[in-house]
Amino acid sequence: MLKSPLNAALAAPTLLVAGAAPALAQEAVIDKGDVAWMMTASLLVLFMIVPGLSLFYGGLVRAKNMLSVLMQCTLTTSVVMIIWVFWGYSFAFGGGTSPFWGGLGKLFLAGVTLDSTAATFTDGVVLPEYVFIAFQMTFAAITPALIVGAFAERVKFTGVMLFMILWVTFVYFPIAHMVWDGAGLIFNMGAIDFAGGTVVHINAGVAGLVWALILGPRVGYGKDNMAPHSMTLTLVGAAMLWVGWFGFNAGSNLEATSGATLAMLNTFVATAAAVVSWSVVEGLVRGKASMLGAASGMIAGLVAITPACGTTGPVGAIVLGLIVSPVCFYFVTAVKARFKYDDSLDVFGVHGIGGIVGAIMTGILCAPSLGGTGYVVEAGTMGAQVFVQIKAVIVTLLWSGIGSAILIFAVRATVGIRATEEEERVGLDLSSHGEAAYHA
């Protein structure tokens, strides 16, 4: 896929809205197999957020903060879905030709009907635009939800909500446009990001790091026992993320073709390899492989294969999985300990770092010589591809880092971002939501 900018096409849907280009539209065909797959893929990504991500994160916090995490994930998702219909879809894929955003052409999904179609990576093959909107909406919903892990257990709920509204508007939608829209800045650099390694994971990871730095550590951090209240839920959540991720990765192929099946196989094996390598590293370093380590490797592997899943061979995917875990392990143990910031659930350590490793390796593993499907950059050399991949990462780091910082300060100056020490001690479930997660 992505062979040539011509059928790059995530921008195309805007050109193909029925009526807009009748001639073209007439020829274009919708295959029910593609529709069936894309509907399945869309609901799989929702499955990743709730219950998946919510449980993965929720299990890692103390019981007294469980509901606050579930609430933050659920409300973020819900609010973003409404925003997506109102202005998000337009900002990202509104058909505008700016390299930075999609314009106002599709506010409130203006002009989208049962006959509207969205292009795929294959000329003449289109999808009902509604399913493209739904699929992309789930990406817009999960990305901000990923950030929750960074400020968990001490953040102020209303501050989170305000931040999320601003963040998707000024950070996510523009980056999605830049990477996936035919008119997008990064897209036209020839960077490969098959399913959203930069847009979703690096983007959220950096925002999480900025949050952790500005918000400061939890009360008692480094002193009190903050062990996960339910490793069981964390593993369940991680497993659900794995299952749902096939919608994320294989769904990004937009068609039920062999390309999607390659993305699926890679998503299986890269993840498996990362689970094994994290466990092996722990076994060597600590003498014991932990369940949380395996779950962390699972996420790291999924994150790393995300940009590469459509352009790498299965063996290359395994190599990528084997590499990403040790890097993330080193980061969440050594580096994080060194800098003493409190990224509660390692959003940056796993999503940010894993995303960067994946983005760069994508430029290497797409090499035909390594079983990949080939380079996308004009130059057509590994060096050039890797260079572009790095450029894409840097643009994302800067845009997300600076943008997030500005927004967090803005929220802190208005509704505030931190719960009081007493609220934090009692737990956010009771203090923010008036409930307790568990009773006899």
């Binding site: 903050m226 062990a227 600590r286 932990s290 949380l292 962390s296 969440v332 143990t333 390692d346 350590g349």
Partner: protein, 112 residues
């Protein structure tokens, strides 16, 4: 009357209960507690975070008995609960002023 409170290893509860019923003690109360003592705890590591757990799970048995059998009861608990390894626990005995059997209203000796 004496009130005997013993901290024992969780898996010894049933043996202790049997030992006591053998002595004709027909009631006792058990509580899950956490103990700190010579027996050292363990460390748990969650990704980067390492926690030293110094309180270990123990069971506290409380039983009120007539003074005359108190020593026999302490003896019985000691034998049933002993593994010989560190962490076996301790037994504490104090004087009991009164006892009341809620259902019947019986008091003291009769209430035990």
């Amino acid at each position: 009357m004496k009130f005997i409170s013993a901290i024992i290893k969780p898996h010894k509860l049933d043996e202790v209960r049997e030992a006591l019923t053998a002595l004709g003690v027909n009631g006792l109360t058990a509580t899950e507690v956490k103990g700190y003592g010579r027996q050292k705890g363990h460390t748990e590591i969650y990704r980067g975070a390492e926690y030293l757990v110094s309180f270990l799970p123990k069971i506290k048995i409380e039983v009120a008995v007539p003074s005359d059998i108190a020593d026999a009861v302490v003896e019985a608990i000691t034998n049933a609960a002993r593994t010989g390894q560190i962490g076996d626990g301790k037994i504490f005995v104090y004087a009991l002023d009164r006892a009341v059997h809620i259902r019947t209203g019986e008091t003291d000796q009769d209430a035990l």
